[in-house]
């Protein structure tokens, strides 16, 4: 018996380190190998050309369109010239610190709502205060700020306002609709079902057209509501239907025992909802609600079609300038980056939140 101990041999070279990883992940089977080769070829064709166009050949200092067109890369000078128009619309130039502050405030409001520490009972009041402050900043007329009519608002602050005010007002409405749809009163249930199915079956565009064309007909003569309010109402009604369906799913996930326990304690319907059912149901539906917010943020771009000056319309207006024609790709990439930054961060957060909430439920 050989008891002499020998030094352990290192594993074979092709099983450790980078080579092993490449073999396992990129070339594990013939099909995989072919696909990897094709993808690498595709990337080699497209990525260097794209990087060249985006960064290396790009032009940042040009002062006129001709200079920019001579360069073969992207014309970021166009963005440098037009970024205030795209971001803030036709808001008076000297007062643009106000929409900037409003944007920061709204973004901060969204970020704070994501942090768990803020999930207290005073969060709705916090939102109300924040939104009121944004309204004061944008409109002005008080505290020495000059008055700016909302037909001059535009760009990123307007997109954020449409989305946050939309979700803030749609949430209570959606909650009531969900409670109405699961109610035992047949009249209330029928009304809520008709509303929800009607709104969910039609595209947002038709609701925007409806509100911009039909609301003036519905109101008595002489009563005018301006375009922005009409669009905001359409967005609120649209979001409320989707929030109602999501909350209804949450309500259905609550075990019947909770309702029965509340009844046995003698709680009334509203007391049951307020203290027992809704806290549990709302916690369950937070991830789907966040995805509704992301979808709403993207859908605010549709107000372009009824002529409201949001971020997408601001980009189109910047492109319409006769002395800077033909730079659509740069303008659209710029605002795509802004939308992507907001939506991607919120969706990453939502996925992390889902994971954290799921572990909460498991014992």
């Amino acid at each position: 018996m050989n008891t002499a101990s020998t030094a352990a041999l290192a594993p074979p070279r092709h099983q450790i380190g980078l080579l092993a990883w490449i073999r396992a992940n990129l070339f594990s089977s013939p099909v995989n190998a072919i696909v990897t080769v094709l993808s690498v070829w595709f990337l080699l064709m497209s990525v260097p050309a794209a990087l060249n166009w985006l960064f290396f050949d790009a032009n940042l200092e040009a002062t006129s369109a001709q200079q920019c067109r001579q360069a073969s890369g992207a014309c970021w000078a166009f963005i440098r010239e037009k970024h205030r128009l795209i971001l803030f619309g036709i808001y008076p130039y000297d007062e643009q610190w106000r929409p900037l502050l409003a944007t920061i405030l709204l973004t901060g409001l969204i970020i704070c709502s994501c942090i768990r520490w803020f999930w207290k009972a005073w969060l709705p009041l916090f939102w109300m205060a924040g939104l009121a402050l944004v309204a004061v900043l944008m409109w002005g007329g008080v505290f020495g700020l000059s008055y700016v009519d909302n037909s001059m608002w535009g760009g990123l602050p307007l997109t954020l306002i449409l989305a946050t005010f939309g979700i803030a007002f749609a949430f209570p409405l959606g909650l009531l609709l969900a409670l109405g749809r699961t109610s035992r009163l047949p009249a209330v249930k029928a009304l809520c079902v008709v509303y929800i199915e009607l709104i969910r079956g039609v595209p947002l565009i038709s609701l925007l057209f409806m509100s911009s064309v039909m609301l003036p007909l519905f109101l008595p003569a002489g009563f005018n509501i301006d375009k922005l309010l009409r669009a905001q109402i359409a967005i609120i009604l649209f979001a409320a239907a989707y929030i109602a369906e999501t909350v209804r799913g949450g309500l259905q996930a609550i075990p019947k025992g909770q309702y029965e326990g509340a009844e046995s304690l003698g709680l009334s319907y509203w007391q049951t909802m307020r203290m027992i059912i809704l806290p549990q149901a709302l916690k369950v539906v937070i991830p789907p609600l966040v995805s509704i917010f992301i979808a709403l943020f993207k859908d605010t771009s549709l107000v372009v079609i009824i002529g409201i000056f949001d971020l997408t319309q601001a980009a189109k207006t910047a492109l319409a300038d006769a002395s800077w024609r033909g730079f659509s790709a740069e303008a659209y990439l710029f605002i795509a980056l802004i939308y992507f930054a907001y939506c991607y961060s919120i969706s990453r957060y939502s996925r992390a939140l889902e994971r954290r909430l799921a572990t909460d439920h498991e014992r």
Binding site: P186, G201, I205, F218
Partner: protein, 394 residues
């Protein structure tokens, strides 16, 4: 001991606030009353405003002459036709975009969803990048981007890109070869006959397998039938088929199938956007099937294709179908964004009609009725399919 429990009597209804039944009646009457008052207020305002602007109500305007041209239509239309026919053209356009979009987005989305689950690191990362980028940028922005690419960066027809023979991409749109000839009707007839034949063959094959255990090579036989029979029918019955290639004549192409820049941009945007969502749905469906199923199927010695078809996909489909339905509905509703890039779908046509005749309410009602009908049909079909593949539990 004889049981002394009488049958519990129904509670007596008392006409008082304390009786829950009476209370519910009172609440419902109050709520219905409020809604009725609100509706009456709105309707009376509307009627007053309409008469003040001299606009008539009713759908009579549908019989009047339209007077505007429509960019592209699949059925015959001229500006002398009625508004009703114009709206029909818009509806056909919407259905065309929806059907092509749904089929293409499902295929592309399934491919990317499977790629997202691939063990190949490069493919998986590329799929993730595609999904994240396409999901987080608004659809309208993507449509504007594609439309700008096609109209601004594509060359004119004379210098059109020619990736494959017969396919031309220029700023006048996409042109592909078209099938024409008298045999076309026979081709589609033959296809229909083959489909019916396949259904009968499938039932017979299942019966034979249950009775004797012998497996019929259904997939290969159906594939052969689909490939051979329709062409045979076209050549034997009709006058044969020709492939019509687009040719450059003057300033544009003639012949072949045309996808105008608006249609091409709309389809590109819709398909790419929706395929990212469908990829996520497919991924979550396949991941919902437990690992034990994969391992058990492998232990039984099933090949990978059989494993997917018999074990994994039936279970994955149950999880995939409901969210997939809502993605189809979203695509149909999102096709209404065509009004922003000038493709004449139903919203665009009704919008023009609305502006010309002032019949706002009827126009909006037509749009809502059209979309509700399409949404409900898709929902009903998918619900039927869902019930068919649902797990039958106690």
């Amino acid at each position: 001991m004889a049981s002394n429990n009488p049958v519990p009597r129904k509670p007596r209804r008392r006409l008082s606030w304390n009786d829950p039944f009476t209370r519910s009646i009172i609440y419902q009457v109050l709520i219905l009353g409020l809604v009725a008052v609100a509706v009456w207020y709105l309707v009376s305002n509307t009627l007053y405003n309409l008469s003040a602007r001299n606009i008539s109500t009713g759908f009579g305007f549908l019989g009047r002459e339209a007077g505007f041209a429509i960019g592209e239509s699949s059925i015959d239309y001229s500006p002398r036709d009625t508004y009703g026919r114009a709206i029909l053209v818009g509806l056909v356009n919407t259905l065309k975009v929806s059907i092509i979009g749904i089929v293409a987005a499902t295929l592309l989305g399934t491919l990317i969803g499977v790629a997202r689950l691939s063990k190949n690191w490069l493919i998986q990362r590329l799929a993730v990048a595609y999904i994240e980028v396409m999901r987080n940028i608004p659809l309208l922005l993507q449509l504007f981007f594609w439309y700008a690419i096609i109209t601004e960066t594509m060359p004119g027809p004379r210098q059109a890109l020619n990736p494959v023979s017969g396919v031309f991409i220029s700023n006048r749109g996409l042109k592909i070869p078209a099938l024409t000839g008298d045999g076309l009707v026979w081709l589609f007839g033959g296809l229909g006959v083959v489909l019916v034949l396949m259904l009968c063959l499938a039932r017979w094959a299942r019966y034979r397998q249950q009775a004797t255990g012998r497996i019929f090579p259904l997939f290969r036989v159906s594939f052969a039938l689909i490939v051979l029979l329709p062409w045979l029918a076209a050549y034997l019955g009709g006058g044969g088929l020709q492939l019509e290639l687009p040719e450059l004549r003057g300033f544009n192409f003639v012949g072949g199938l045309t996808f105008s820049p608006e249609l091409a941009a709309l389809l590109a945007g819709l398909i790419i956007y929706t395929s990212a969502f469908i990829a996520e749905v497919v991924r979550s469906g396949i991941q919902a099937v437990g690992k034990g199923q994969w391992e058990a199927a492998e232990a039984l010695g099933l090949s990978r294709a059989r494993m997917m078809r018999l074990v994994i996909l039936p279970q994955a489909l149950r999880v995939i179908i409901p969210p997939m339905t809502s993605q189809f509905l979203n695509l149909t509703k999102n096709s209404s964004l065509a009004v922003a890039i000038g493709y004449p779908d139903i919203v665009s046509v009704v919008n023009t009609t609305l502006n010309q005749t002032g019949q706002a309410i009827e126009g909006i009602l037509i749009i809502m009725a059209a979309y509700l009908t399409v949404s409900l049909s898709i929902s009903v079909f998918m619900n039927w399919y869902n019930k068919r593949i649902a797990l039958v539990e106690r």
